[in-house]
């Protein structure tokens, strides 16, 4: 066995150990350890990715001495390693970019607790990505939920407590439905390991047994995970949770946490239930319709938002809608587009949040639009970052967002005939709405006249860490926009490794 194959397991356990050891530490020491660990995890995931690409096939790592289906195991393929690398990198950037905001908004004696939460959150994200066992997935979904909740409420202002309560209620409903689904799935298949459950599932479908429980299982699991990731009618917790927490939490929650549930859902679709059974069950059409509604409604709410953080948060609802629309197209191209958009959104949303924070720092920590007038001149790097992020979200060529919109449109042409026209029309409408609110903000921050007088001569520079994080995210956006072909090939081969 190659030593590199240990890296997925090491990165999960390393994050947990870092979280445990942060308990007695002071805030600064915990910060240093967390940054080191996240960097290490990024490097190890990158090594795993390179290893998987060099061998050309996925590998299985038994957690302990018993092989599956008796013991636990994790599985790393091209898609898993790619997602782990990107997620760890985005986590690092979000933490670096929001570091001064963490130290400003969190009580001094609780800063180390913030890093416990981020460490365990990263470990759960990695475990959800790598897991090959349904119950392991559920355990880490729990850790993910609780850690995310703690990251919202650690700011301890009234609004963030309300936001955390809302988030917890919605998220626990989602977890509950997911758990009910898993229990029933175990009851009819007798397995928790993904491959064995899939084999049993194929036998059940051939024999025509337990069709009603199977339908309930599919719908309950899908709805549960859709609630947790904030698909349109279940989105009410998102604006508050993203708008009032400390900025690193907003970036991590919007960029990574809501995506991890979608990834788990895709894994269940492909590796447990089988994508053809999913298509036959028509649940994808439900996801498709709500994805389309979300794309429009999220943008409409974003246009009406009163402050920049809430606007970016509402925009997340629209982007989650895009992802579910891609899954709902029920083709492989649609799935590739959805996964590509997950990555696009994971690098762009943190960039926008960090940029908005930089702009609001240059405007006396205010976040309403009139205070932000001309703020791009007061903090040039944040202005550039906001510009790049906005253009990417709108879908301007050379940036990652353009490629995902192109992939969605191409995938729509290959989908079933009833979906083609409606997808293209809604995609166009949503793009125009995106442009409306993002470019409106961009024009405002680049308007030199009319800035509030007290900020006329303010000049703010981002700290070195934040500048590095923002530059890294801008660079990633360009890389994904200009060199998308290798990435889409990688995603395609990763999805191919699923079955």
């Amino acid at each position: 066995m190659n030593f590199v194959q240990n890296f997925p397991c090491f990165s999960i356990v390393l994050c947990m150990v870092a979280g445990i050891l942060s308990t007695p530490m002071k805030g600064k020491a915990a910060k240093r350890m967390t940054l080191t660990v996240v960097t290490l995890v990024t490097l190890m995931s990158l090594a795993t990715l390179l290893y998987v690409l060099s061998t050309g096939e996925s590998f299985i790592y038994t957690m302990g001495k018993y092989p599956a289906p008796w013991g636990n195991e994790i599985r790393a393929g091209a898609l898993e390693a790619l997602l782990a690398t990107m997620f760890a990198l985005v986590m690092l950037c979000s933490l670096l970019g929001g570091m001064d905001h963490i130290f400003r908004t969190v009580d001094e004696e609780k800063i180390n607790l913030y890093f416990i939460l981020t460490d365990l959150l990263l470990s759960s994200l990695l475990a959800i990505i790598y897991t090959n066992d349904l119950f392991t997935g559920y355990v880490f979904v729990e850790i993910n939920t609780i850690a995310a909740c703690g990251m919202i409420m650690i700011r301890r202002s009234g609004r963030s407590l309300i936001a955390a309560t809302r988030y917890m209620v919605m998220s626990l409903i989602g977890s509950g439905l997911f758990l009910i689904g898993l229990a029933m799935l175990y009851d009819i298949t007798g397995h928790l390991l993904m491959e064995s459950a899939h084999d049993a599932m194929v036998r059940l479908v051939e024999a025509g047994e337990y069709q009603i429980p199977l339908l309930v299982v599919i719908s309950v699991i899908t709805v549960g995970l859709a609630i947790k990731s904030g698909l349109y009618p279940f989105h009410s917790w998102m604006p508050d949770a993203y708008g009032y927490s400390t900025i690193s939490s907003s970036s991590i929650l919007s960029g990574l946490v809501s995506k991890s549930y979608i990834i788990l859902l895709i894994k269940i679709f492909y590796r447990v239930i089988g994508f053809d059974i999913i298509i036959r069950s028509k649940i994808v059409n439900v996801l498709f319709v709500f994805g389309l509604i979300g794309m429009v409604m999220g943008s409409v709410s974003a246009i009406m938002a009163k402050d920049v953080y809430r606007m970016i948060a509402y925009s997340s609802i629209a982007q989650i809608g895009y992802v579910y629309m891609g899954i709902g197209l029920a083709t492989e191209a649609g799935m590739v587009a959805a996964v590509f958009h997950i990555l696009t959104h994971a690098i762009t949303k943190p960039l926008l949040f960090l940029a908005a924070k930089g702009l609001s720092d240059a405007s006396g920590h205010k976040k309403n639009f009139s205070a932000l007038q001309g703020s791009a001149f007061r903090n040039p790097l944040a202005g550039t970052a906001f510009l790049v992020g906005s253009l990417s979200m709108v879908g301007i060529p050379m940036l990652a967002g353009f490629i995902s919109k192109l992939l969605f449109a191409t995938a729509a042409l290959g989908a079933s005939s009833s979906k083609v026209l409606v997808t293209l029309v809604v995609l166009a409408v949503s793009t125009i709405l995106n442009a409306l609110y993002f470019l409106h903000t961009v024009v405002r921050i680049y308007t030199p006249t009319g800035a509030p007088e007290e900020f006329q001569n303010v000049h703010v520079r981002m700290s070195t860490g934040a500048a590095a994080a923002v530059s890294c995210l801008i660079l990633l956006n360009f890389v994904m926009g200009l060199m998308s072909q290798p990435l889409t090939d990688l995603i395609l081969s990763g999805i191919g490794m699923f079955s």
Partner: protein, 318 residues
């Protein structure tokens, strides 16, 4: 030696630099720019929000009697939520009625997985208690995750409720300060009961691999004993042997030893290296390899977490 060009002021580069620095606006003079509308200017607002009676406003807003539409909406909302719940319950009950019969030997979940746990569990993992074998040895990663769930739940409660020690002592309007109650019967009974409860908790933990029980249940028993002690004798007396320092040392110690054990187990298991922890004879108190130490670590963690929940909700600190 290079020198600044004569027409540097007008060069493209200089204009770009000045634009990036925010000194000039290339569109100035070329585009009509209107001043902002009056309402959007930030500044002194006409009313002072501090002078408003927020309680009165809140009461006015929540008074739905004046608002017919709101009343209808709330009625509709409650009806719909009840209907939705009933629908969900009906759907799930219907699905459950179609599930395989419990206890059927030919059912889908009586397969090779549980067969190996039952038949080979004792020989492979060394514990007489099959459930312990399964959760701590076969599916050790899941249980490690579950222990981390407890750890992070406790961390979140600390985030939400913990106050500084000085603030707690200064507070006057708290009821925990009236404890311990001068209740002779309670105190005498607690003195008798608490050692027995602790002893029983340790027994459950240490015999986790031999009889029903283990770290989670034994830890809960010890935690309950601590809570009984603190309600009877008060926080100041408890702090003499269990304060925040003890809590941190015990918890971090137990969890880090647990993770070291698990890393060793994962690494040796996956790389086919021989595990040097001896399994011993099944049935002995010192047997079952790593299961006994893990039970102890889990038990300590659970006991600490239980007590921490109680203390944080009651007092805001340990």
């Amino acid at each position: 030696m290079s020198r600044i060009r004569d027409d540097y002021e007008k060069s493209l580069w200089n204009r770009l630099v000045r634009w990036v620095n925010g000194e000039t606006d290339p569109l100035e003079g070329k585009m009509e720019m209107k001043p902002l509308r009056e309402t959007e200017v930030v500044g002194e607002s006409k009313y002072n929000p501090d002078s408003l009676d927020k309680e009165k406003i809140r009461q006015y807003l929540e008074d739905t009697k004046k608002n017919k539409g709101m009343q209808v909406f709330q009625m509709f909302y409650s009806l719909m939520s009840v209907a939705l719940c009933l629908l969900l319950i009906a759907a799930l009950l219907l699905a459950v009625s179609w599930l395989p019969v419990i206890g059927n030997p030919d059912g889908p979940n009586n397969n090779e997985v549980s067969a190996r746990y039952i038949e080979k569990g004792m020989e492979e993992s060394g514990a007489v208690n099959m459930v312990t074998n399964m959760i701590l040895s076969y599916r050790g990663f899941d249980t490690f995750g579950e222990t981390c769930v407890l750890f992070i739940a406790a961390t979140c409660v600390i985030v939400l409720l913990q106050k500084k020690e000085e603030t707690i002592e200064k507070e006057s309007e708290t009821d925990w300060k009236y404890e311990p109650r001068p209740d002779a019967i309670l105190q005498k009974m607690t003195k008798v009961l608490v050692p027995v409860i602790f002893l029983y908790g340790f027994y459950i933990i240490l015999n986790g691999h031999l009889s029903p029980g283990g770290g989670f249940s034994g830890g809960a028993v010890i935690g309950a004993g601590l809570i009984l002690y603190v309600t009877t004798f008060g926080f100041h007396k408890t702090q003499r042997f269990f304060n925040e320092k003890t809590y941190e040392v015990v918890k971090v110690g137990a969890l880090s030893l647990y993770s070291v054990t698990m890393i060793y187990y994962f690494y040796t298991g996956a790389n086919m290296i021989k595990n040097v922890i001896p399994l011993g004879t099944p049935g002995d108190i010192l047997s079952s390899g790593m299961i006994l130490p893990i039970n102890i670590f889990v038990g300590l963690e659970v006991a600490c977490t239980m007590y921490a929940f109680f203390a944080l909700f009651r007092r805001g600190g340990m």
